[in-house]
């Protein structure tokens, strides 16, 4: 029995031939389908080739057209290429691995419309993709809306900015006076009535004392005492007694006078204090008028944000968009650490990886030479290296290095790095544009702010780092030789002043910083233009405000001062009245007291005279009596002797 089968040998040869022929004729289609599927899954939307041809012997792959659909808009391509030739590691395709050594992509067109939807077939969508969808990139998604949020926020700020309140609102003294109901005139009237009541009250208090009647009665009593008719001491003493009683009455009058004076003085004092109150009321009216006018205080941190905040936010959003595209693409290719699969599908088993002498990823584009024109007419060309499913296999991050030039001939450079080597993912971008014409910028905020620049150059530097999906960015724009452009000529004085102020500024810097924490993204925009503008605007606004304040004061004064004068006149009149009354009463009482005192003195003198006279008479009588007695004694002595 023969060991070999002759017919079998012939069959093996025939089969081998058939396999070779089949491979030659259908390999392109098989490989095309395999590559399309692999790339589509990575992209998240269809990647389609037209006219793909693979030469396994030469290790080249060429195609006439490649379309990469946009997962966010499946009726649009992210980009499409024309005829392209690629160097590949051919035998890896049989292993379902795509290793592209060098990919040259030129004449790329971005954002082209698709005839058919670029949506992934359901059977191609990896299950875990759904789970990973709401993962660490949430902050980036949030950042994706950043531009929209920033624009809305800026719009609000435009409306609320004092410059525009000043420029757009017709603030004038008349309109404020129309809104303002002055309180001073009413209060003055009220005070006036109060003063009148006080004066009346004080006068009545004096009247109640009935001084005139008392004085009259006292006067009558004084006059009834006729000193000449007093002939003896007894009569004098009786007169003195009467006068002393009158003096007592006079003292009572003085006491009453004191009370009356105090009442009048209080009245005068209250009247005088009313004047001080009026000044306070006027101040309150000024204050209320100013409040109604909403005269602005300036925030120094807004103008720069308004001017170029939108531009910076849009730039930042672009970078975040690139970062998100890159990280999503690379994240979808990440390999997992290999542990034993305890329960693999029957017949499928588990593929064990070993250290590769050459890295052995499933997908690896070693180098892409890319040149294309962006939607903003910027011609970009550069190199992307190591687009790979597992960077750890090659211990290198994915890097991008691009140089660009826009239609004005301004150059720029963009470098990017997607680093997934460590525990934390890190995507970083740097953008550098040393000279950018500001004339092409459309600030687009509107209102009274500049709409653009008539001249000027800006130097842009942007650094964006995204660690574990949390972005941190710093964008600096240094502007020199600046001239601002306004949509219309200044209509109001405020606008004119603002435009003049802007015209004096020829350089400014603006810095946008974005950071993130557990609460979300935080955006801060700083600029030295804020200080420059706001300093000037403040000065101008202060003048404007002072002028309006003066007008308001004049208007308030016009209404209030007349009342105040009336009040003052009234007060003076009332004061004079009270003073006169006080003087009158005082004079009356004092005159009465003086008269009583004079009468008293006169009576006392009369009394003294009468006493002296009586004394003299008594002495003379005693002498006479002594003389008569002595004479009588003498005669008796003579008769006896």
């Amino acid at each position: 029995m023969k060991l070999f089968r002759k017919s079998g040998l012939i069959l093996v040869i025939i089969l081998g031939g058939l396999i070779a022929a089949g491979y030659y004729f259908i390999s392109d289609d098989l490989i095309e389908e395999q590559i399309e599927k692999a790339l589509s899954i990575q992209n998240g939307a269809l990647v389609e080739f037209d006219g793909l041809s693979v030469s396994l012997l030469n290790g080249t792959m060429t195609w006439k057209k490649m379309q990469v659909a946009n997962p966010d808009n499946v009726m649009q391509n992210r980009f499409e290429t024309t005829e392209t030739s690629v160097s590949i590691t051919a035998w890896k395709l049989l292993q379902k691995k795509v290793i592209i050594n060098n990919l040259v992509l030129a004449d790329i067109r971005t954002g082209t419309e698709r005839k058919k939807s670029g949506e992934l077939p359901k059977e191609w969508i990896p299950e875990e993709e759904v789970e990973e969808d709401s993962g660490e990139s949430s902050l980036l998604k949030e950042a994706g809306d950043l531009s929209k949020q920033a624009k809305n926020a800026l719009k609000d700020k435009v409306v609320n900015t004092p410059v525009f309140q000043l420029a757009n609102t017709s603030i004038n003294a008349d309109s404020i006076m129309g809104l303002l109901k002055l309180q001073t005139p009413d209060k003055v009237d009220s005070l006036r009535k109060s003063i009148e009541a006080n004066v009346k009250n004080a006068t009545e208090t004096v009247e109640k004392l009935n001084l005139n009647k008392t004085i009259k009665e006292t006067d009558a009593k004084i006059k009834s005492i006729n000193v000449k008719e007093i002939k003896d001491v007894k009569s004098a003493e009786e007169a003195i007694k009467t006068v002393t009683e009158l003096s007592k009455t006079a003292k009572d009058l003085q006491s009453q006078l004191k009370t009356a004076k105090e009442s009048l003085s209080t009245g005068i004092s209250e009247v005088s204090s009313g004047v001080g109150q009026v000044d306070n009321w006027i101040k309150e009216d000024y204050s209320r008028a100013e409040k109604i006018a909403k005269l602005p205080d300036f925030d120094t941190q807004k103008i720069g944000e308004l001017l170029l905040g939108k531009e910076l936010m849009e730039s930042l959003n672009d970078y975040l968009g690139y970062a998100e595209t890159g990280r999503n693409f690379l994240a979808s290719m990440k390999s997992k650490d290999q542990e034993k699969d305890e329960n693999p599908e029957r017949g499928k088993g588990q593929n064990i990886r070993f250290k590769s002498f050459e890295p052995n990823p499933d997908f690896w584009v070693k180098k892409v030479n890319l040149s294309y024109k962006t939607e903003k007419d910027i011609q970009l060309s550069g190199v992307i290296t190591d687009i790979i499913d597992n960077q750890k296999l090659i211990a290198r991050p994915t890097k991008a290095d691009f140089k660009g030039v826009n239609k004005s001939g301004e150059t720029m450079s963009v470098t990017g790095e997607f680093n997934y080597l460590g525990d934390k993912t890190l995507e970083s971008f740097q953008f550098d544009m040393p000279k950018m014409s500001l004339r092409t910028l459309d600030i687009g905020v509107g209102g009274s702010l500049p709409t653009g620049f008539t001249k000027g150059n800006g130097a842009v530097k942007a650094v964006l780092n995204i660690t574990n999906g949390a972005p941190k960015a710093d964008i600096t724009l240094k502007n020199t030789d600046v001239g601002f452009k306004f949509a219309k000529k200044a209509s109001g004085k405020s606008e004119k002043v603002f435009q003049d102020v802007m015209g004096r500024i020829n350089s400014f810097n603006i810095d946008a910083m974005i950071s993130s924490n557990s609460k979300g993204l935080k955006v801060k925009i700083d600029s030295d233009i804020d200080n420059k503008i706001s300093r000037e605007i403040k000065a101008v606004a202060k003048e404007e405000v002072d002028k309006i304040k003066r007008q308001i004061r004049a208007k308030v004064d016009a209404q209030v001062q007349a009342k105040k004068k009336e009040l003052n006149d009234e007060i003076n009149k009332q004061k004079q009245k009270l003073e006169a009354k006080k003087k009158e009463v005082e004079e009356l009482v004092n005159k009465q007291v003086a008269e009583i005192e004079a009468k008293k003195k006169e009576i006392e003198k009369k009394k003294d005279d009468l006493i002296k006279e009586a004394k003299d008479k008594a002495e003379k009588a005693a002498q006479d009596a002594l003389k008569k007695g002595a004479d009588k004694l003498k005669s008796k002595i003579k008769l006896g002797f």
């Binding site: 029995m1 292993q95 593929n351």
Partner: protein
């Protein structure tokens, strides 16, 4: 009657003098390897060419693939564990790494089920071949003779089926 036909064909093969027990046992052994290992693997192509080139019985190979395919499916977790053990052997690591970095990777040797089942079937084949040979010989010596002389055999001879049996007897 498909199962019956196969049974009849099997009887024909076993009873035929045209096919030696070694040819039959060889075909069955190759079929066992192909059946135990996952289908459409690279080594299947090689084994298929072996089947064509060497003078072994093709039908027995198909029978072996079917029967051991079912057994292989049942033993899949065991092959996975065995394959994982083999692929994690330290002293083989260097060899595996070299294979992994060459076109040999196309054989999918690094798959646990494939490695486990392939090594197991290769190890089993030198054991199973003599066993298959012994069993076929024993069949021809004892069972075939007993069958012919049995009441069932006599009965079948009279029926149309018996003529079929005669046909398969060769």
């Amino acid at each position: 009657m498909f199962g019956f036909d196969i049974f009849i064909k099997l009887l024909k093969l076993l009873n035929s003098d045209k096919h030696s027990p070694a040819q039959l046992a060889g075909g069955l052994s190759i079929g066992m390897i192909m059946g135990l290992t996952p289908w459409f693997s690279a080594h299947h192509l090689i084994l298929f060419f072996v089947l064509l080139l060497f003078n072994v019985n093709f039908s027995m190979a198909l029978l072996g693939m079917g029967v051991f395919g079912i057994i292989g499916y049942l033993f899949d977790p065991v092959f996975h564990d065995f394959g994982f053990y083999l692929l994690k052997l330290d002293f083989m690591k260097e060899t595996y790494t070299q294979w992994y970095n060459s076109a040999f990777i196309l054989t999918r040797f690094n798959n646990t089920v494939l490695m486990g089942s392939f090594v197991a079937s290769i190890l089993l084949s030198p054991i199973m071949f003599p066993i298959f040979l012994f069993l076929i010989k024993r069949y021809r010596k004892h069972v075939l003779k007993w069958f012919k002389d049995s009441f069932l055999g006599e009965l079948l001879k009279e029926s149309s089926t018996l003529s079929l049996y005669d046909k398969v007897e060769g």
